[in-house]
Symmetry: C2
Subunit: 309 residues, 2 copies
């Protein structure tokens, strides 16, 4: 069973603190929305679908202070649209007098089911013996179920289709080397960690059959915002004729964002890159749709324009 990064128990949302993995498995108990917002901001919980689910539970913890919690949670991270998706849907429940906790539990169950379907659809795109390059973490820790890109890789491996996984370490916070490697190791999937700048050399040697990643926001025209470095992988994959599969739930697709140029890109603290020196730390980049082979959702592989969902 994959490790879910969150659980609701005894009136609180408990989050596995992903900043401490793989060294320590510590659960944070959040009884108030502010604690969840803080956990999202400092990446204790991360991954677009997972922060969507965490946000849903945080809204359930807010009680009558819905709008105050929504404003706080909505300000934590700008790029992943799942936060806004959860706030918009939660507001409908709140205003109609429904149970936000019941709704949050349903959001989680829906994510688990969406992950299962995404993995099925994505597995169908892979051939036996695939050597897959992945970036950042899009496994179970990034959602609430199997994962998106990472869930698809693990499912494809269980189906006998995956020979090897190349895990880009994903600087500066090493979500690949810390989180994806931890997940693949527990599952028994064969992998090697490489520096992010190794992708080109691996492709030039013919050692990569597909790139598979998640997404933080997909614009109406199919442009994909994902962890910084994804665009570089896309350009390399294009040069080498390697397919790039983006696996993401429909809640990550944002018809209201016309193109990648309109996606706000989070700029994080330079000290995450290097201490005491001038640095620039974009957390995401945008891959134009022309470089994307497939966008795989729970409804199958979809093509833009995404005008309504």
């Amino acid at each position: 069973m994959p490790t879910s990064p969150l659980r609701f128990a005894d009136g609180a949302l408990e989050l596995l603190d992903q900043t401490l993995l793989p060294g320590e498995e510590r659960w944070l108990r959040c009884e108030r929305p502010e604690q969840v917002a803080d956990a999202i901001r400092r990446l204790a919980v991360r991954g677009a679908p997972a922060i969507g689910v965490a946000c849903a539970y945080a809204l359930a913890l807010a009680g009558p202070d819905f709008e105050q919690a929504a404003a706080l949670l909505g300000s934590t991270r700008p790029t992943a649209v799942n936060l806004r998706w959860a706030i918009d849907h939660g507001r409908g429940v709140f205003e109609s007098g429904g149970s936000l906790l019941e709704w949050a539990r349903q959001v989680e169950r829906d994510q688990v089911e969406a992950d299962r379907r995404m993995a099925e659809h994505a597995t169908a795109l892979l051939s036996p013996g695939s050597r897959i390059f992945t970036h950042c973490n899009s496994g179970a820790l990034a959602t609430a179920g199997l994962g998106t890109g990472g869930g698809a890789i693990e499912a494809a491996w269980r189906a006998g289709l995956v020979e090897h996984v190349w895990v880009g370490e994903t600087r500066p916070l090493l979500q690949g080397a810390r989180l994806t490697a931890w997940e693949l190791g527990r599952a028994g999937v064969p992998f090697q960690v490489v520096t992010d700048s190794s992708a080109g050399a691996l492709m030039a040697r013919g050692l990569v059959d597909a790139v598979m990643v998640g997404a933080d926001r997909i614009a109406a025209n199919g442009d994909v915002a994902n962890k910084i470095g994804t665009y570089t992988l896309a350009v390399l994959a294009d040069r080498h004729g390697v397919p790039l599969h983006v696996v993401a739930p429909l809640s990550t697709v944002d018809p209201a964002t016309p193109s990648g140029a309109a996606i706000p890109i989070e700029e994080r603290d330079p000290s995450e890159v290097v201490a005491g020196l001038p640095a620039l730390n974009y957390a995401f980049d945008v891959t134009p749709y022309e470089l994307v082979t497939s966008i795989v959702t729970e409804a199958g592989a979809l093509s833009p324009p995404f005008t309504e969902l």
Copy 2:
């Protein structure tokens, strides 16, 4: 004045231990060739021209045991051809009964002069206001003079042509964030460190006017081996119409290596990437000549084939 990474004094070669920079400036005193070989292997001295000069002095320290020292030094690192260049030239001096120390001093002086000329030629390729992306370290620490790519950047900045330098941190050993940033900071050149996977996003935003790097070996057909990640920069630069200038002395050009496919690529210990996990650690990659805008040597910008020098 740039900091030279080596000096010969009191019968020994002293090397600035680059594994400790920028935290500590410690000089290693090498009285025997084995100590220099060890320093080269563990990257206390690195950069193709610098290890060529260090090798020359190490051969001078060998006395009558020339061939034993040559075999040891030649086995330290496979990719940079400057090691072999120094051994081949040193053997001629040894066999003709010349002074290896005098010769080594001349190798160092020649490198200083070559660096000066490379910087002049490379500066002529840049326009005012240039924002330059560089990778790894090709400054003074990598040679014995101004540097190759890094020396050219600093010279162009002194000529008023450089607005900003993007320093790729250069995982796994961070020669960019540790060494290039240290050099640029001391010189007063405006720079920011970025993760290696940020290059694509910066180019997509139009923030890079040129890529300038050094080289470890240039094959007869113009293919360039340099620090892993250079190939990725080349592919990105090609997509964005950004010129890629490779700055390297003639001693880095190897007419005996027909193409990049024949360049041995050093694979270093996986623990340099991540401890306790499966990892792969290629130290270099190969950029095909078709992606290289200029190869700048002390003799000016040259075009392949490099059949004789």
